[in-house]
């Protein structure tokens, strides 16, 4: 068990998320990114050279093994193939987190070697997917894109973001993901943020809906050998996740070795892609300087929500109070419990 008192902070992380752009061609209702989806370049973006310099800096300073390129929509950057080649030449495994709509045969061919694509597939129904993605035609383009990955013998993971609007479509959507050649399914419940909080009543799935979804996925994992991961924390005080033994559940690594610190389009560093708190900038500072010395990280690692005081110690040390970044986004502090926990208990009010 992890110990609260001796939580390891000395080892540097091996995984990073690099948000290449804030621009996006979708307008997802559930998006947690505070940058929005206006398609406008906000506060600039780094050039290709600047990005490769930052990656070299991480390579020199940390034991980085994997970098996930995200956004916005990373395929909106014309230099994505060049950036991916650079990452691979550094011996780092690349992942591209994409809405899939720009995965033309040409763009897939230019990027596919040794890349894992995480492609959002919100429903087997075009109308439901497009409603959540905020754009007509998004489903067709994403499905075409997954077919192009399969045709190019690439590796894709389908990402399902569970909301009230699409949870009932999960089983058929996961089967469609299998048909499209997905090597795994990632299931994320809606993670609340300042950006999507106004839609919480409309979107946030209830615990009952999530239980239903997890049972479906557990059965599909057994039936088809489908690897299923849950990335956004589902707190065990809300749902007993031990009932779904064929699903891998992720937990907050508390800004430690297993974390995926996130670099934004202008080199600002955050704890993860959900956190709004900027810790420093890699143009001016070293990563290890931020990692070892920033006072917010100590607070993030060591402060626990008062709501968790009476929790079983084993669950508490595993769950880590849920998504503190979500609490920071919605309440302005990581010291409150994940709003998913609160809203699951009291319901969502206007």
């Amino acid at each position: 068990m992890k110990s609260l008192a001796t939580f390891e902070t000395r080892l540097l992380p091996k995984t990073f998320v690099f948000e290449l752009t804030r621009r996006c061609n979708n307008h997802c209702l559930y998006c947690y990114n505070e940058g929005g989806t206006s398609g406008v370049v906000r506060n600039g973006e780094m050039s290709t050279d600047e990005i490769t310099r930052i990656i070299s800096k991480l390579r020199a300073e940390t034991p980085v093994e994997s970098i996930a390129l995200s956004g916005g929509e990373p395929f909106l950057r014309e230099d994505l193939p060049e950036i991916l080649s650079f990452i691979k030449n550094q011996g780092i495994a690349p992942v591209v987190i994409t809405n899939g709509t720009l995965l033309t045969p040409e763009k897939v061919a230019a990027t596919v070697a040794d890349v894992t694509y995480e492609v959002t597939l919100l429903s087997y129904r075009p109308d439901v997917h497009d409603q959540l993605a905020g754009r007509h035609g998004a489903w067709k383009a994403a499905v075409d894109g997954m077919c192009n990955i399969r045709y190019a013998k690439g590796n894709a993971v389908a990402v399902f973001v569970a909301t009230k609007l699409n949870y009932a479509n999960l089983e058929t959507t996961a089967e469609l993901a299998i048909a499209l050649g997905a090597s795994a399914v990632m299931y994320n419940r809606l993670n609340l943020s300042a950006h999507n909080l106004p839609h919480a009543q409309k979107l946030l799935p209830t615990p009952e809906m999530i239980r239903e979804n997890l049972a479906v996925l557990d059965a599909l994992a057994v039936k088809h050998g489908l690897p299923v991961t849950v990335s956004v924390v589902i707190e065990p005080c809300v749902i007993d996740v031990s009932k779904y033994p064929h699903i891998h559940f992720g937990w907050c690594p508390l800004a430690g070795e297993g974390s995926y610190f996130t670099i934004d389009p202008v080199a600002n560093v955050r704890i993860c892609n959900h956190s709004p708190v900027i810790l420093g900038n890699l143009r001016r500072e070293s990563f290890s300087e931020i990692y070892y010395n920033h006072p917010y990280l100590k607070r993030f690692r060591e402060t626990w929500p008062a709501e968790c005081d009476n929790c079983e110690p084993e669950l508490k040390t595993l769950c880590c109070g849920g998504c503190k970044a979500s609490a920071e986004q919605c309440y302005g502090t990581p010291n409150r419990v994940d709003p998913f926990v609160t809203l699951s208990r009291v319901g969502v009010r206007n």
Binding site: V143, R150, E175, A221, G225, V228, P236, S242, H248, G258
Partner: protein, 118 residues
Amino acid sequence: MDTKTRTGTVVEKSGSFFLEVDDKLHPIPVGSHINVQQLKELAGQKVELIQSEPKSFVVGLVPAAAKAGVHFPRVLCYFPADPYLLGVVDEGARVGLAKQFLDQGVLSKANYEKLGNL
């Protein structure tokens, strides 16, 4: 795909971790699914394996001592490979589902043909 339960022991050797089952050592990859600290805590312990057949794909380890009466997430790791590195979906099942979605009009004929049989 049926499941069956076996037991093994987590072993640490020169900083790497292995699962010893039937006198054979299987490397446990460290990644986003399980970290070094968690494996250190499991080292030397007997664990119950949740293993799927016929793929010999271990999807979870359950510390034997942590089972009784505790609502505790059981799945700690995947091996021999992280799901991001290894898809284990049965190809026959995939082809059958693709045909089903073609028949239902969800997949176009062009996309169905593109998916093909690899």
